[in-house]
Amino acid sequence: MGRFVARRIASMLFVMFAVSVLTFLIFNVIPNGDPAVRMAGKQPTESQIEEIREEWGFDESIPEQYVVTMRKLFTGDMISYFTQLDVVDEIIKGIPRTFSLAVGAALIWMAFGVGLGLYTAMRAGKLSDTFLTVLALIGISMPVFWVGALMNHYLGFKLGLFPNGGYVEFAENPLDWAYHLILPWTALSILFIGVYSRVLRSNVLDTINEDYVRTARAKGLSERRVLFKHVLRNSLIPVVTLWGLDFAVVIGGGAILTETVFGLQGVGQYAADAIGQLDVPPILAVTMFGAFFVVFVNAIVDIGYAALDPRIRLESDSAS
């Protein structure tokens, strides 16, 4: 186990390094034109560009530029040339909001996804299954920013059932916090409910024909017990893995559209707001930290699985 953890962490660090190199290349090397001009945002002055070129070392070799960029990121010395604010500070400010959005939505989509998946699997082939399966497909086909904007307009603004955007801190008033987040949670969950219910449905239908399920039935266990103790537990494994990874992706920037539509001012919206100004530093930082977070959670999930299931660490030992 110790060896597995050490190797998994080493590979995580390697991927993080590669992620940082790729991010650097995307912003500073791949595009055509002067990186200093790009960094400066819309309508920069000559002296600003000159200053940025000096500061970021754009006259130096590419490896040196990479080192400067990383140093600026990790010492919190990177500013947006549009707002003049420190990029890392702004990201930290957004984290509680993004986290609040992700946690609630993840719980909702897991609960509804599993419930819907189980129900449709039990009713496979019947009319209710067809209806709900089509509904799940519609959920997968709708862009979250469109659904969110319509929900915000009709349920929030027109009917006044929910607050029209905005965010209240959890510490200030937990009820108000949840009340302000219900619409964003729902909008963000719709897609995942569609995905999870489809995955779970097909897993349940696979598991239900396994020999051990037949054995459980033959033993005379109640249908309920067979379903929850034998079928569901095994069908859930891939869904739980998916859940960990999707949660990481949503926090690492995947919620950017939901945040923007509902004006939550989270990490994602910080990057989204920078796009219009072509303000590169915030986007660079959010992209890199978002991917770091995803890589980190991936490693944690793998290690967690290896701890629970020895087959996984043995497999990877023999594979390499």
């Binding site: 055509n32 082939g125 399966t133 709708m142 862009p143 319509l150 989204a272 590169v280 986007i283 992209t287």
Partner: protein
């Protein structure tokens, strides 16, 4: 196996029992003896009426969008970017109304030749923009999906066939792209390339003297194609790893066939099913990603329309003119839904066990 067929039946909503050869069921006619897997798959798909109906719906939507120039020339008399004079009026229910009111609120749907679906805040005809925007969205979606397929084939074949360091390098690159949330790497590339575009000459030592401008449609196409490559290259690689150990590959090698010919002539035909299963679903996801990027301002550039940019315009005016957001969104959902249902049908017909997962 019977139980598995039932599963597939339930998913596809069709009756698979017709695949059982007639000599076993005792039925006459409809001889299936000697039918190729392709023909069987085609037959299964043909029986899946829902999937076929949505496939036809998708083709209809494509046809309507392709007819955009005819509509704008012959019926609406406006291009997608034409802006009317501030005092221009249009007939709505027999009344003359300003295209964009004095309060800045554009005219709503007239359901007549001109401004059938109303105007946007700049007074541009929404129906015309909807069709031209659809052309852009569909063009970007299908070319990006095609790009993903080509890159996925090449990278998957190379790493699965050669293994060793080639596989090591390609797989690590795929891991790294995979680590980025799709939308984030999309906006990162979108903003980085917006200003100066992309100069291929720089990376090919001047061999490919092509410079792509920052506002070109090719930029979102390339971005989306690259972002989805790992989702295809990985399953292809896995299949190639298994296929290369098969006897017919050994035979090909013994005959002295070149690696290139083995990869593209012998192995590729055996992974085509996967490509076909992925293609409609890739287009659906590519269209959604294009819309998301354009919505955030990192995809198609104004004033060029796409469903994403139109939703973006519409959301800004949702309080005064909600149709501006509803209409392009509805078209988008219809298109993506049609592709998803059809894609599911194709998967059920070709390879019901295929695990297709594409992130959003």
């Amino acid at each position: 196996m019977a139980a598995r067929d039932q599963v597939a039946t339930a998913e596809a909503g069709t009756d698979l029992s017709l695949d059982v050869p007639p000599e076993l069921t005792g039925q006459k006619g409809k001889g299936t003896s000697g039918a190729s897997p392709w023909r069987l798959a085609g037959r299964r798909l043909k029986r899946n009426k829902t999937a076929l109906a949505f496939g036809v719906l998708f083709l209809l939507l494509v046809g309507v969008c392709l007819a955009a120039p005819i509509y704008s020339d012959k019926i609406a008399n406006r291009t997608a970017t034409d802006q009317p004079a501030s005092d221009e009026t249009v007939t709505d229910n027999g009344e003359e109304i300003l295209v964009v009111g004095l309060d800045g609120i554009p005219i709503g749907p007239t359901y007549e030749k001109e401004y059938f679906l109303g105007a946007d805040s700049s007074g541009r005809d929404v129906a015309v923009r909807l069709l031209y925007g659809g052309r852009n969205s569909l063009l970007i979606g299908s070319l990006a999906a095609l790009g993903t397929i080509i890159l996925g084939i090449v990278l998957g074949l190379l790493s699965g066939y050669f293994r060793g360091w080639v596989d090591g390098v390609i797989s690590r690159i795929m891991d790294v792209i995979w680590s980025f949330p799709v939308i984030l790497i999309g906006i990162a590339l979108g903003t980085a390339l917006a200003l100066g575009g992309l100069d291929f000459g720089k990376f090919s030592f001047g061999l490919i003297p092509i410079t792509v401008q920052g506002d070109s449609l090719a930029i979102p196409i390339m971005i989306i194609a690259v972002v989805y490559v790992p989702y295809l290259a990985r399953p292809i690689r896995g299949q190639v790893l298994a296929l290369r150990e098969k006897e017919f590959i050994e035979a090909a090698r013994a005959q002295g066939m070149s690696s290139f010919r083995i990869m593209f002539g012998e192995i590729l035909p055996n992974v085509v099913t996967t490509l076909i299963v992925f293609f409609p679903l890739l287009i659906a996801n590519a269209i959604l990603l294009e819309a998301a990027l354009s919505f955030l301002g990192a995809g198609v550039r104004a004033p060029n329309p796409s469903w994403g940019t139109m939703i973006n315009d519409g959301v800004d005016r949702i309080v005064t003119a909600p149709t501006l957001a509803i209409v392009p969104g509805a078209m988008l959902v219809l298109t993506v839904l049609a592709l998803n249902v059809f894609g599911d049908g194709v998967r059920d017909a070709l390879d019901p066990r295929a695990k297709v997962r594409i992130d959003h």
